[in-house]
């Protein structure tokens, strides 16, 4: 084991002096992701708010058929615009998000007490117009309900008769559990960080060593090759873990500044929560270090290794993307799937739900088994002369 620890200490020392390693492992992930995320939330929030507070400019076709409605809309703050020549084209060309068209039969049907038709011309596939569409529909619906109630009252009927059911929300979500809505991305970011934190080290200690032509002299030393490889993988794991820990700390600092509006969320990550997340994610760091080292060992140079890494970085994204697109109820078997189980567990930890210890155990052990199997494979790679001399 002497050789292993010697390699480990030397790789740590060497890479701490490497600006590229420090940048990739200890700065990029921990700094970039949290700032990027909070910045994005600020931007979304302020853009949304701006749209909601903006005066609603609403072109109306056939305003003459419903003067009462137009008055109502104006009272509610809408700025009624004159009738455009080609309303469909106007919406399609994104000159305005929404236009309403009051059909000629409106007054007649109104007088008969039949539903009077209004068309809302819109393109909901344009996300930026959704706020305006929602506001216009809300206004029209409000008008409709008001007139409906008035009509019933005039006939001596209580408007309550038209609301046979009353809905009441009993909200069991807590400020903690709502927080997951805001940090649904966190497992995803952590999973990527485990990989990005390991990438540079995995490449530098294998493909980089080959490229610098220091691998052959190194292997002439009386140390079993598996110890040399394991020392390198330990260094890579340590950097990935440091990257994860720093990212978590940085989120802890930054999250309270998130613009969470009126949601009533509690976004503080307690020390226990952080430690639990770190425990759950650390087997992923080992898995990432082993997998990346395995791949990079086949490369002749740092550049060649880099070309493989672009694809590998997709791996940690897959489970998170599936989970975000199609949230499913956590079940025990999922704990055996690496990356997937961490996604679920981190979610539960942030919600401060109690998670069965057996789930932790399954997640950690299944990921460790696969990680260590990959590591064992990687450790034997330099027993093949072809891999030592390729490129030299």
């Amino acid at each position: 084991m002497r050789g292993l620890t010697t390699v480990f200490r030397k790789e740590v020392r060497e890479n701490i002096r490497d600006r590229r390693a420090l940048f990739n492992s200890l700065l990029l992930g921990p700094l970039l992701f949290p700032l990027l995320f909070v910045g994005m939330m600020w931007f979304l929030q302020s853009a949304e708010q701006e749209r909601a507070e903006q005066a609603l400019e609403l072109p109306v076709v056939g305003a003459q058929y419903a003067p009462n409605l137009i008055r109502y809309l104006e009272q509610q703050g809408a700025e009624i615009q004159p009738e455009p020549d080609d309303p469909e084209a106007m919406v399609r060309n994104q000159e305005t998000p929404v236009i309403i068209r009051i059909l000629p039969e409106y007054p007649e049907r109104w007088a008969e007490g039949l539903p009077a038709p209004i068309e809302v011309i819109m393109d909901p596939s344009r996300q930026e117009s959704n706020t305006a569409i929602r506001r216009v529909k809300g206004l029209l619906l409000g008008y409709s309900q008001r007139i409906g109630s008035l009509r019933l009252q005039m006939r001596g009927v209580s408007p309550q008769l038209a609301s046979p059911v009353m809905l009441k929300d009993v909200d069991l979500s807590t400020p903690k559990s709502r927080a997951i809505l805001a940090v649904i991305f966190l497992p995803y970011v952590l999973m990527i960080t485990a990989f990005t934190g390991a990438t540079h080290l995995a490449m530098d200690t294998t493909a980089g060593e080959k490229e610098r032509k220091s691998l052959e002299p190194l292997l002439i030393n009386p140390v079993p090759r598996w110890q040399i490889m394991t020392g390198k993988m330990l260094t890579t794991t340590a950097f990935a873990m440091a990257s994860l820990a720093l990212t978590l700390v940085s989120f802890r600092i930054v999250l309270p500044y998130m613009p969470i509006g009126a949601f009533g969320m509690d976004l503080t990550l307690g020390l226990m929560t952080l430690l639990r997340i770190l425990l759950v994610i650390s087997p992923v760091a080992i898995l990432a270090a082993a997998l990346l080292t395995l791949l990079a060992s086949f490369a002749k140079s740092y550049r060649e290794a880099q070309s493989y890494m672009g694809l590998v970085i997709l791996i940690p994204m897959i489970p998170s993307l599936i989970f975000m697109a199609n949230p499913i109820r956590a079940e025990a078997w999922m704990m055996t799937v690496p990356l997937f189980s961490q996604n679920i567990l981190i979610g539960e930890i942030i919600r401060e739900e109690s998670v069965a210890l057996s789930w932790y155990a399954m997640s950690v052990s299944s990921t460790l088994v696969i990680g260590l199997a990959l590591a064992a494979l990687a450790a034997t790679l330099y027993n093949r002369p072809r891999l030592i001399f390729s490129g030299s």
Binding site: R212, K213, P217, I220, N221, V223
Partner: protein, 244 residues
């Protein structure tokens, strides 16, 4: 003491080493001389057990690299053709790393580096990072790194590659010092002057085979040539790869 018998190694269809035999005695410098691509590096790589031979026998002080790889590596000092240093470590750290891999104690390493700094004249740059070192400085660090555990057998692959005149002289002096200390030194080279200046015995290798083996005087006598260069050309049967 190295004994090599009928060593063979192929890479696919290419026969890199095709029946090489020679001996390298303690207190002597043995030169493997041959044109580029003759199989010198492959032979050395089998000696320091980085490549397994297809056939043949190697004994280094009675040890076989196939059975006692770890034991042999402890007694060998190797300066391979690839002398990559770690550019973010100082020369001292580079050497100490190998000392630790050999299981030396901190104190032994410090002591050894102290000696090597004097014999190899490295005081000016021993505590500088090796980034930007000259070829001469690199070779010195690579040699110090290989010698940190005081090996009995020393293998040098093209040691004077890329060195200027002064560095080459210093290198030769150092190698002669190893001989006087009773070590067995094997160096491979394609440079005639190198063998003429240094080697007690010369093994001429061409196309993976030993073309001739003996002292410089023996080789001259056998070929009837006046100069080692003519003898070399006569023995390998061509001027191919003859650079110096």
């Amino acid at each position: 003491m190295i004994i090599v018998k009928n060593l063979r190694k192929s890479f696919g269809d290419v026969r890199a080493v095709n029946g090489v035999s020679f001996q390298a005695r303690d207190g002597e410098i043995t030169g493997l001389l041959g044109p580029n691509g003759a199989g010198k590096t492959t032979t050395l790589r089998m000696l320091y057990s980085l490549l397994p031979p297809d056939e043949g026998e190697i004994l280094i002080d009675g040890l076989d690299p196939r059975r006692d790889a770890m034991e042999i590596k402890r007694t060998l000092g190797v300066v391979p053709d690839n002398r990559g240093l770690y550019s973010r470590l100082t020369a001292r750290e580079n050497i100490a790393y190998y000392g630790e891999l050999h299981g030396l104690s901190r104190r032994q390493i410090d002591e050894r580096i102290g000696q090597l700094v004097t014999t190899l004249d490295m005081a000016d740059f021993i505590d500088r990072r090796t980034e930007g070192f000259s070829q001469g400085q690199r070779v010195k660090v690579a040699i110090a790194r290989a010698m940190v555990h005081e090996p009995q057998t020393v293998l040098l692959d093209e040691p004077s590659n890329g060195l200027d005149v002064m560095s080459t002289r210093a290198l030769r002096d150092y190698v002669r010092g190893l001989r006087s200390a009773g070590r067995s030194v094997v160096l491979s080279t394609h440079i005639m002057q190198e063998v003429a200046a240094l080697c007690d015995r010369i093994v001429i290798i061409a196309k993976g085979e030993v073309a001739a083996d003996g002292t410089a005087a023996e080789l001259l006598a056998r070929t009837g040539c006046d100069s080692l260069e003519d003898a070399f050309v006569r023995l390998i049967g061509s001027e191919e790869g003859l650079l110096a």
